[in-house]
């Protein structure tokens, strides 16, 4: 495959079978390898789409500063896109994210503002909104409410899955900004309404939920629960166990959130087996495991790894 530039190579990722994790010939799992994007995550699609949309509507002009709250992947993707298109990037990153994310952001030239660990990404959003008020000339792309985030999945990720797997019965992906599932869900609601759209949401340690009151909770503006069929909360123990199984059985080295997605997908697979139904389940692998080596998720017992992840934002 040949492309004119790196940005032209975003998307069109491989869909690979998981023959050893699939329970039977009738119930099969397929992994959509989003780690094959230029900076190694699904967010390359989103970053490029948000920048292109902001350029089109005139909000972004050469020399502008982009501001974004992000726990990592979106920031890394934006840093790459911003560098190639000539923008300055300021990321608001929670304190409890892996060191690799900071290193990668720095490599592509992003500036980092750190938000407190307590409250996780909710705090990063709050800090970014305050910074946007102080610097009205900065452009807050705001992945949680930017329609370009879900639109790109509606226009690319969803159709790619259907083209590679016309017999698809389920799509399972992680829920963070909700962009992947909102876009893919919207696409399948029209193209194949019988396809079941399943969300896997990481369940973190208590520190991340340490909010002062319940009204400070956060639901992304993009989220529309009518576009998904169900939503599972997956803790670090199951996520680590599954991400290691994916490595051991299928040779795929994925990020920890993929373990959570795989856990939900295997649950759906077991249900299909019990119901004696055929199923082809597409699993979105959001990123590779490289950025999580320092978290210790891949070392020692599952219990030890779970302890190490306790205060971290691992998805």
């Amino acid at each position: 495959m040949r492309f004119d530039s790196l940005l032209d190579s975003v998307g069109r990722t491989p869909l690979v079978g998981l023959p050893r994790l699939s329970p039977s010939a009738d119930v099969r799992l397929w992994a959509k390898l989003e780690d094959r994007n230029p900076t190694g995550s699904v967010k390359d699609r989103v970053a490029l789409a948000m920048v292109v949309a902001a350029e089109k509507d005139g909000r972004l002009r050469p020399g502008c500063t982009i501001l974004e709250p992000t726990s990592g992947n979106t920031g890394i993707s934006l840093a790459m896109v911003a560098r190639l298109r000539g923008y300055r990037l300021v990321c608001v990153l929670p304190e409890n994210t892996s060191v690799e994310r900071r290193q990668l952001l720095g490599m592509w030239g992003a500036e980092i503002v750190t938000s407190p660990a307590e409250g996780g990404s909710n705090e990063a959003v709050r800090v970014a909104k305050a910074l946007a008020q102080e610097h009205p000339d900065w452009v807050l792309l705001y992945q949680y409410g930017n329609p370009a985030n879900s639109d790109v999945h509606h226009d690319t990720t969803g159709p790619e899955i259907l083209a590679d797997l016309p017999e698809v019965t389920h799509v399972v992906a992680g829920l963070g900004t909700t962009g992947t599932l909102m876009g893919v869900g919207q696409f399948f609601r029209t193209a194949r309404p019988e396809v079941r759209i399943v969300a896997a949401e990481p369940r973190y340690g208590e520190l991340v939920y340490g909010l002062r009151n319940l009204d400070e909770g956060f639901v992304p503006e993009l989220y529309d629960e009518a576009l998904i069929d169900t939503r599972f909360s997956v803790g670090p123990r199951d996520a680590i166990r599954r991400v290691r199984e994916l490595l051991d059985l299928e040779g795929i080295f994925a990020g920890i959130s993929t373990g959570a997605v795989l856990h939900a997908a295997l649950g759906e697979a077991a249900r299909a087996v019990d119901a004696r139904k055929q199923a082809d389940i597409a699993v979105v692998v959001a990123d590779g495991g490289w950025k999580y080596l320092s978290t210790g998720a891949f070392e020692g017992t599952v219990e030890e790894a779970e302890q190490r992840l306790h205060h971290q934002l691992w998805a």
Partner: protein, 90 residues
């Protein structure tokens, strides 16, 4: 039929600091009423009218109850209910 209910940090003022408490009932709604009889006020923080509050997520055996019948979601002996504030990702 007792079920375990895991309570987030911010609601432990209602449970004397306990991380998990036990409730009984055939549905999530009944369990929350039962909890409220011993931990007065807790239900009001989780429920608004006949639905779960917007910035709160409740899971029965790890599945979001908004997709399984809301407060009418059936529970049985040994099930686990988890209450969490909604958080961002990405």
């Amino acid at each position: 039929m007792p079920v375990e209910v895991k309570v987030p940090t911010i609601l432990r003022t209602y449970t004397d600091g306990e991380k998990a408490v036990t409730g009984t009932g055939g549905t999530l709604g009944e369990v929350l009423h039962d909890l409220d009889s011993r931990h007065a006020g807790i239900r009001e923080r989780v429920v608004d009218g006949d639905a779960v509050r917007r910035f709160v997520n409740v899971y029965v055996n790890d599945e979001d109850v908004r997709f399984t019948g809301g407060l009418g979601t059936g529970v049985s002996d040994g099930d686990t209910v988890v209450i969490l504030p909604a958080v961002a990702g990405g």
